[in-house]
């Protein structure tokens, strides 16, 4: 059975403030779903609801079962999360941090470290293996965080603005890596503030784009939808201009509406 995360009419309310309302969304292995929306739209809240980090009404299902009934190790075998927040400030080595992400496996330290080195290599961060995390730059730390995500070997990936802190070259290489993981069968739910980076995952027509605003899903469409700039313009409150650059369509945020 393919791993699947689904939200059915999910709502989240904290201290009387409604952060999510009637959100329904599904992502399975082999799918790439981009979650776009302005600050405060509820994108990260949706991830936190999926991980059981906050209470939600409606149904959050993992492989068809209520997420609350899925144990921690089992959940970690389905979902891996790349949070927005910076990594630890404590003096942990990169290898220890990435190997620690393999908590769900019952394995020897040697195996964990070997898998961690593979993940670091995949994320282009193997040169940092013996460094202390807190001595790395923001971009280097983000690549280490991606390695920790990969080390967990979960079929579904929750990516919360993964290109944060990265220079353009690393942003592109990271989205290409996510594209490779997607084509290898992983399911990806990716929050991004730069819609153009999605063009680097490949097969743009197969990328689903979900627009979220004020805690509600406003649209769901293909990345190649000709009307995507208009739909984005509605949720961000700014005009998007579509420009063709070679084979790629680039969306430029323009003047305010």
């Amino acid at each position: 059975m393919a791993a699947e995360l689904s939200f059915n009419r999910v709502g989240v309310e904290i201290s009387g403030k409604r952060l999510l309302q009637d959100v329904s969304l599904r992502v399975s292995e082999g799918e790439f779903v981009a979650l776009l929306g302005p600050n405060g739209a509820g994108k990260t809240t949706l991830f936190r609801a999926a991980l059981g980090l906050l209470r939600a009404s409606g149904e959050v299902l993992l492989n068809g079962r209520p997420a609350r009934q899925v144990g921690g190790r089992e959940r970690a075998g389905i979902l891996a999360w790349l949070p927005q927040q910076a990594l630890v400030t404590e003096a942990l080595s990169v290898l220890d941090l990435v190997a620690g992400a393999r908590f769900r496996f019952s394995e020897s330290r040697r195996n964990a470290e070997s898998a961690a080195r593979d993940a670091l290599r995949q994320a282009g961060a193997e040169v940092f293996a013996d460094r202390i995390v807190s001595t790395l730059s923001g971009g280097e730390q983000q690549r280490v965080a991606v390695a920790a995500l990969l080390a967990q070997e979960a079929p579904l990936l929750l990516l919360d603005e993964p290109a944060n802190h990265l220079d353009p070259a690393h942003q592109v290489s990271l989205y290409r890596l996510f594209g490779e993981l997607w084509r290898a069968g992983r399911g990806v739910l990716c929050i991004s503030h730069d819609v153009n980076l999605l063009s680097h995952v490949g097969d743009a027509a197969a990328v689903r784009v979900v627009g979220l605003a004020q805690g509600q899903v406003r649209f769901e469409t293909s990345y190649t939808d000709a009307d995507l700039p208009g739909k984005l313009g509605e949720i961000f409150g700014i005009h998007f201009e579509s420009v063709q650059a070679g084979s790629r369509r680039v969306l430029l945020p323009g003047a305010g509406v």
Binding site: L51, G52, L53, G71, G72, R73, E74, R75, A76, G77, L79, A80, W81, P83, Q85, L87, V88, E90, A91, L92, S93, D96, L97, A99, G100, A101, R102, F103, R104, R109, I132, A148, Q152
Partner: protein, 314 residues
Amino acid sequence: MRPRVILILVACVAVAVSAPWIGGALEGESGEFILQSLRIPRVIMACLVGATLSLVGACYQTILANPLAAPSTVGTTAGATLGALVAVLAGSALGGMPGGMPIVAVFAFVAALGVSLFVAALAGSGRARVNDVLLAGVAISLAAGAVSAGLQFSADELQLYAAIQWSLGHLPQVGYRGVLMIAPFVAITGGVLLSQTRALQSLAAGEERAHSQGVNVARVRSLVLGVGALGVAACVAWCGPIAFVGLIVPHIVRLSVGSSRRILLPMSAVMGAAFLVACDTAARNVLPGRELPVGVLTAGIGAPLLVWLVARRK
């Protein structure tokens, strides 16, 4: 294993092994008695207590994500002090305890465990955030301290002196009774805490990351607090509250060999043992004809050592 770790291990073993022979000359039958029945059991006791306090401190600093966390943070020490004070005040009325256990130790153990398990239960509720647990521990410590102050107010001079003497921490004893009393608790605490190394390693990267990686954070936090309290309560009940070991030694270890929990936790136990042995050896030799309370030296040596290590950190 890294050379620095091996060097520290060798140094710690050397401290523990040589400690019984440091001090007044051991000659004749009395020398043999002093060595076998006083100094060796005292060093073993110091090893058990130092290892437990330091290991528990390292674990508490991880689960509470706070470098100032220590066994005293969750109310263990304050609870033990309250229990000991009640025992001192009620001692004459209660008489001896079953099995010849000292009344003070039994009361201190029960009170320390009771207070700490309350905090552990709160931490395991799932809804409590790490700061809630810290606040609850601090609040309970203050409440227990207030009750203790009230009880001291109604104590007579002899009772007050006994309570103060207990509260300074002490290791002197004759024979192995104390060692045998606390050894099972120390073994359980050490075994369970070290079995949680992988979860604690994951937790060191942050509570929410650990949760997403499969760690049941509430369960681990509650288990570590509860089992840690068991070992600390046994140590404090027998030896009184020995200040700063659980706070300072894990930081000294971290600055010496890094923060990997795989190294930090066992090395905290080893260095905690050696540190308390060294302090106790100094406590019984530094003044001619009398002993200093070991708690005075643990703070007096540990605090400057920590400041020096922090200052020389690159």
